[in-house]
C-alpha cells in the first residue's frame, strides 16, 4: 500500500463517500429554536426589570448578568453541556454560551491549581473569541470612521 499522492486522493474520496455528514438542516432548526428561546428569556427578564423601575441601560446590564449567572450554574450542574449536544450553535452563540465556555475549563482544570489550572485555563476557549472579537470591532470601527468622513 504505497502512500503516494494518487492513493491519498483516492482514499480521501473513499472516506468522503463512506462518512455520514452532520445533519445541517436539523442542527440549524434546533439552533434557531433554542437560540431564539434564550433571547426570548432575556427579553422576559428585560420587561421584568423594567417593570421594577430600572432604567433602559441598567436593564440591559442586568439581563446580561442574569443570563451569564444562569448559564454558569447550569454548566456547573452539568445541564448546559447536555443542552449543547442538541442545540449546538443555539446555546453556543448567545452570551450564555460564552459563560459556558469560561466556566467549563475552569471546572475541568481546577485540579491543576487555582493559578496555573483554573485561572490560566479559564479563557482557553473564550480567549480567541475575545481577541478576534476585539480585532474585528477595531477594523469595523476604522471602516465606519472612514465612510463617515
Amino acid at each position: 500500500m504505497e502512500a503516494n499522492e494518487r492513493t491519498k486522493q483516492e482514499y480521501a474520496k473513499m472516506v468522503e463517500r463512506t462518512s455520514p455528514k452532520s445533519p445541517i438542516g436539523k442542527n440549524c432548526l434546533f439552533a434557531f429554536l433554542s437560540g431564539g428561546a434564550i433571547c426570548t428569556l432575556g427579553q422576559m427578564f428585560r420587561h421584568w426589570y423594567f417593570s421594577m423601575g430600572w432604567t433602559e441601560e441598567e436593564c440591559g446590564l442586568l439581563v446580561s448578568v442574569t443570563l451569564i449567572g444562569l448559564s454558569a450554574v447550569l454548566t456547573a450542574l452539568g445541564i448546559y453541556g447536555r443542552l449543547g449536544k442538541h442545540c449546538g450553535a443555539g446555546t453556543e452563540v448567545p452570551i450564555t454560551g460564552f459563560a459556558n465556555s469560561v466556566v467549563s475549563p475552569a471546572i475541568e482544570f481546577k485540579k491543576e491549581g487555582m493559578v496555573l489550572g483554573m485561572a490560566a485555563k479559564m479563557f482557553l476557549i473564550a480567549g480567541p473569541v475575545i481577541v478576534y472579537g476585539t480585532l474585528t470591532s477595531m477594523v469595523v470601527g476604522v471602516i465606519y470612521y472612514l465612510l463617515g468622513r
Binding site: M1, A12, V15, T18, N27, T75, G81, E92, N100, S104
Partner: protein, 340 residues
C-alpha cells in the same frame, strides 16, 4: 532467524500462553452489549479518586491485580509489566503500577497499545528473558476529552464520524507455562499515513494501517481470512471497519462477517449515543480481555487475529495541521491447552 516469516511477522518458537485476562470498565461500557463480560463495572467515573487521571490509574491497578489473581500467581511472580495509555507521558500507567514494584516497560502505541504490550511481552518470553509477563492498556473518556478535545461541561455537538473513548483497563498475564489460549504469531505494524487530518475521524485515519497489517499478515503466513474464526481490529468503529474492509478487498482479501471491530462490539449504537463507536486503548483491551479471551479459553474460537489500532496524533501535531498517521499490531491467538 527461523522465527521470522516475513518482514513484519514472527512465529514464536514455543507458543506463549495467556493464562488470565481481566477487564475493568466504566458505567457506559457496563450498560453496553458486553456489560456482563467485564470483571468489574465501575459506576463512578472518578473511581473514588479526585481527578480523571487518578481514576484512570485506578482502573489500571484494578485490572492488573485482577488478572494476576486470576492467573493464580502473585504480583511478585511477574517478571515484567508492559503497559501504556493515552495521557501525556503515560501517567495513567505510571501511577497505576508504580506500587507493584515489578520491572516495567512503559509503552505508547496510542490505541494500539494492547497489541503492542502483548506482542512485546510474548516476544520477551519466547526469547527466554521472562517466565511471566503482565501486559495491559487503559483509557478514560473524561481524561481523554480533557487532554485531546474540550472540557466536559462545554456544550458542543460531535460529528457523526466521531467515536467515544472507552473508559476502562484490560490486562493479560502471559506465561511460558500454564493453561490458556496461546499466542502463535505476531505481526508488527508499520506506520501508514494516507493523509487524513480530521482528528474527529480517527477510524478513517487508522483504517489504512489496519488493512495494511492484515494484508501483510495473511501474505506472510500464507493464510486466507477463512483460516480465522475472527479478525478483530481495535477501534476503527463502524465507518473505519467498512473502510478497512474495502481496502482489504482491493488487496485481494475480501472480508465477511468474521471481520469485526472492538469499537463496534463495545457499545450499542441504537441505545447509546456513541456515533461511530468506541475508541481508546481500553476499547480493544477490555473487549479482548472480557469478550474474546473467555471464548478462546472455552474453545469457541479456535483461531483469531487480534489487531489493536492506533492513531498517532497529539494535540500539537493536530494544531500544526499535520496528518494523522495510523498503526496496527496483529497477534494470532489460538485456543489450546496452553504452553508446556
Amino acid at each position: 532467524m527461523g522465527k521470522r516469516l516475513g518482514p513484519q511477522t514472527v512465529r514464536l518458537e514455543r507458543p506463549v500462553a495467556v493464562t488470565a485476562a481481566a477487564a475493568v470498565a466504566g458505567k457506559m461500557e457496563g450498560e453496553g452489549p458486553l456489560g456482563e463480560c467485564f470483571d468489574r463495572i465501575v459506576q463512578d467515573a472518578l473511581f473514588g479518586e479526585d481527578s480523571w487521571e487518578k481514576a484512570e490509574s485506578h482502573f489500571v491497578r484494578e485490572a492488573m491485580e485482577r488478572a494476576v489473581q486470576k492467573s493464580g500467581h502473585t504480583m511478585g511472580d511477574m517478571d515484567y509489566v508492559f503497559c501504556g495509555d493515552l495521557l501525556n507521558q503515560c501517567i495513567g500507567t505510571t501511577f497505576g503500577i508504580k506500587d507493584f514494584s515489578i520491572p516495567c516497560f512503559g509503552v505508547f502505541g496510542a490505541c494500539s497499545t494492547m497489541g503492542e504490550t502483548m506482542s512485546l511481552g510474548a516476544m520477551l518470553i519466547d526469547g527466554g528473558f521472562a517466565e511471566q509477563v503482565l501486559a495491559g492498556a487503559s483509557s478514560h473518556f473524561c481524561s481523554a476529552e480533557k487532554q485531546f478535545r474540550f472540557p466536559l461541561p462545554l456544550g458542543i455537538q460531535r460529528p457523526p464520524v466521531s467515536a467515544r473513548t472507552v473508559t476502562g483497563a484490560g490486562a493479560a498475564v502471559l506465561s511460558r507455562k500454564g493453561e490458556g489460549p496461546v499466542i502463535r504469531e505476531i505481526t508488527t505494524g508499520k506506520i501508514v499515513d494516507l493523509g487524513i487530518k480530521d482528528a474527529n475521524h480517527m477510524g478513517a485515519a487508522m483504517a489504512p494501517a489496519a488493512a495494511a497489517l492484515i494484508a501483510a499478515h495473511l501474505r506472510e503466513t500464507n493464510r486466507r481470512p477463512e483460516d480465522y474464526d475472527y479478525i478483530v481490529t481495535g477501534d476503527l468503529g463502524r465507518i473505519g471497519r467498512d473502510l478497512a474492509a474495502e481496502l482489504l478487498a482491493k488487496e485481494g482479501f475480501p472480508m465477511d462477517e468474521r471481520y469485526t471491530d472492538c469499537g463496534i462490539l463495545v457499545y450499542d449504537p441504537q441505545k447509546q449515543d456513541v456515533h461511530a463507536g468506541g475508541s481508546g486503548c481500553a476499547c480493544s483491551a477490555v473487549t479482548f480481555a472480557g469478550y474474546f479471551y473467555p471464548k478462546l479459553r472455552r474453545g469457541e474460537i479456535r483461531r483469531m487475529l487480534f489487531v489493536p489500532t492506533g492513531a498517532l496524533l497529539s494535540t500539537t501535531s493536530v494544531q500544526q495541521g499535520l496528518t494523522i498517521p495510523g498503526i496496527a499490531h496483529g497477534i494470532v491467538l489460538e485456543s489450546g491447552k496452553g504452553a508446556d
